[in-house]
């Protein structure tokens, strides 16, 4: 008997179910199924996983886009450290409290030193700030001018430039009494890169001028009395010349006093603004908002990727162990089945 003959005979004698069995099975099959299929059951197992992966990716993308769009309009948080921030007193030799290398602008703002009350002082401050981009640079420049005017001051000079890296340089004069307030408010316009406050005491100079004025006045009075007493015309002429010199000195002293007082009346604040190195120097109003939104979205996506990678790394040993257990169980089950079916 050949294999073909065997195959033909096997196929020819294909078993048929008895009528009794058919009736029994059809009775079972005609019963209603336990319950209808739910959506979860329809997309179960690997299919559900296959749906979850693109769904998760879509959610991650949407989150990145939403965050990117919603946060692209702000100038960015003012939280960077101020690497250089100093304050010193010149004439008094007294060290004033200066902001330490601040962790945030608020700390720097609170620590901005002010002039001492009751003494005449020359107050000068230099602030170097970084802003997000050219849009923020424009806003910060406008606000700086407004702050100067609000505090009773004025603008000495403004230099503003945009490009690959935008920058602005402003020289402001504000009443010395408002100088600390001005520094505080200006430092809030961006991230502080450097802050320098210098206070020179002018009171001693003014006191010296005052004492000298008293001396010159006394000398002028004495010369006047001597002139009245002088009999000799030559002597009178010499004394009058001395009195004229003393009066000239008095006028110079008064001018110096006025200049010193004027110097102390207004503080000079030098404000330097610059955009971030990586801001790309986008020109305001030429699509920079879109660039920022894309940058933010990419940053969010990068963070999501990092988190996903970290989770994958953390779960990898568990996944490997689970795979090993499953493989072992499968192999065991197959061996058991082979053993069961090995007997005739």
């Amino acid at each position: 008997m050949t294999v073909n003959e065997i195959v033909d005979e096997l196929r020819g004698a294909r078993p048929r179910a008895s009528d009794a069995l058919r009736l029994q099975v059809m009775t079972i099959a005609a019963r209603p199924a336990p319950r209808t299929r739910t959506f979860g059951e329809r997309v179960r197992g690997r299919r559900r996983l296959a749906l979850l992966v693109p769904a998760g990716a879509a959610v991650a993308m949407a989150a990145a886009v939403v965050i990117g769009v919603t946060r692209s309009g702000s100038t960015g948080p003012v939280v960077a450290a101020a690497p250089e921030s100093t304050a010193r007193s010149g004439a008094t030799g007294e060290a004033l409290v200066a902001p330490p290398t601040a962790a945030d602008a608020a700390t720097a703002q609170k620590a901005a030193p002010g002039p001492l009350t009751g003494r005449l002082q020359r107050y000068s401050a230099a602030l170097s700030l970084e802003v997000e981009d050219n849009d923020a640079l424009s806003d910060a420049t406008q606000q700086a001018l407004r702050i100067a005017r609000d505090l009773g001051g004025y603008v000495v000079s403004v230099h503003y430039a945009t490009g690959d890296q935008g920058s602005a340089s402003l020289t402001l004069r504000v009443p010395t009494a408002n100088a600390a307030d001005a520094v505080t408010r200006l430092s809030g316009l961006g991230t502080i890169l450097a802050q320098n406050v210098q206070i020179d005491d002018l009171q001693e100079s003014l006191d010296t001028l005052d004492r000298r004025e008293q001396q010159v006045r006394a000398r002028i009075a004495a010369l006047g009395a001597a002139i009245d007493r002088a009999d000799d015309a030559a002597e009178r002429a010499r004394l009058e010349e001395q009195r004229a010199q003393a009066r000239a000195e008095l006028r110079a002293l008064r001018a110096s006093q006025a200049a010193t007082a004027a110097e102390a009346r207004n503080a000079t604040v030098q404000l330097d603004l610059q955009t971030k190195q990586d801001s790309g120097g986008a020109v305001p109003g030429s699509g920079s908002r879109l660039d920022r939104a894309l940058d933010k979205a990419l940053a969010v996506l990068a963070w999501e990727g990092i988190v996903l990678l970290a989770v994958a790394i953390a779960l990898a040993p568990l996944a490997l162990a689970a795979a090993a257990v499953l493989a072992t169980r499968r192999t065991r089950r197959r061996h058991e089945e082979d053993r069961l079916l090995a007997t005739p």
Partner: protein, 169 residues
């Protein structure tokens, strides 16, 4: 007007349709596996009981109803083989009951019947699926949980052994 596809082409809508179309296949497979008509009929009945509970999970996209039912039949049969093995173990002190050697499929010659009886259940299983039920290699592989290549190897070996047994006499 709705054009009805024949059942051989479209997947069955109900288990009753599937049972009507594939009961003979399920019974034939179980008969070759167990070599006992009564047992095969019991297992066929159990198979459709299970199929009713699992009908919600049947996905025509992943395989035909016949393959799905044969997979359930195999699981049911393996449970039966396990129970038999435990029973034999318990009764191993006593003499094993003699198996009633009756013809399990009508129309087979005595030589072929004897040859099939000499094969292992695993060898009869692959003959039933590939030769008697004429499943293709992939469907058989899905039912048995092995690769199509392993199916071919197993079938070739089973046919060779059957030929030897039949020709030995």
């Amino acid at each position: 007007m709705t054009l009805e596809q024949p059942l051989a082409v479209r997947p069955p809508r109900t288990l009753a349709e599937a049972a009507e179309a594939h009961l003979d296949d399920v019974l034939g497979y179980l008969l070759y596996l167990t070599r006992d008509r009564e047992t095969a009929e019991d297992l066929a009945s159990s198979t459709f009981e299970k199929a009713l509970r699992l009908w919600n999970r049947f996905d025509p996209g992943r395989g035909s109803a016949r393959t799905w039912l044969l997979g359930i039949a195999r699981t049911t049969a393996l449970d039966w083989f396990r129970a038999e093995a435990r029973r034999r173990k318990r009764e191993e002190a006593a003499a094993l009951p003699e198996r009633v050697e009756e013809a399990f499929a009508e129309g087979l010659s005595p030589a072929l019947e004897a040859g099939l009886a000499a094969l292992s259940a695993g060898e009869r299983e692959v003959l039933a699926l590939r030769v008697v039920l004429e499943l293709d290699g992939d469907a058989t592989a899905r039912v048995l949980g092995i690769s199509p290549t392993a199916v071919s190897t197993r079938l070739s070996r089973a046919l060779k052994r059957l030929e030897e047994r039949v020709n030995q006499g």
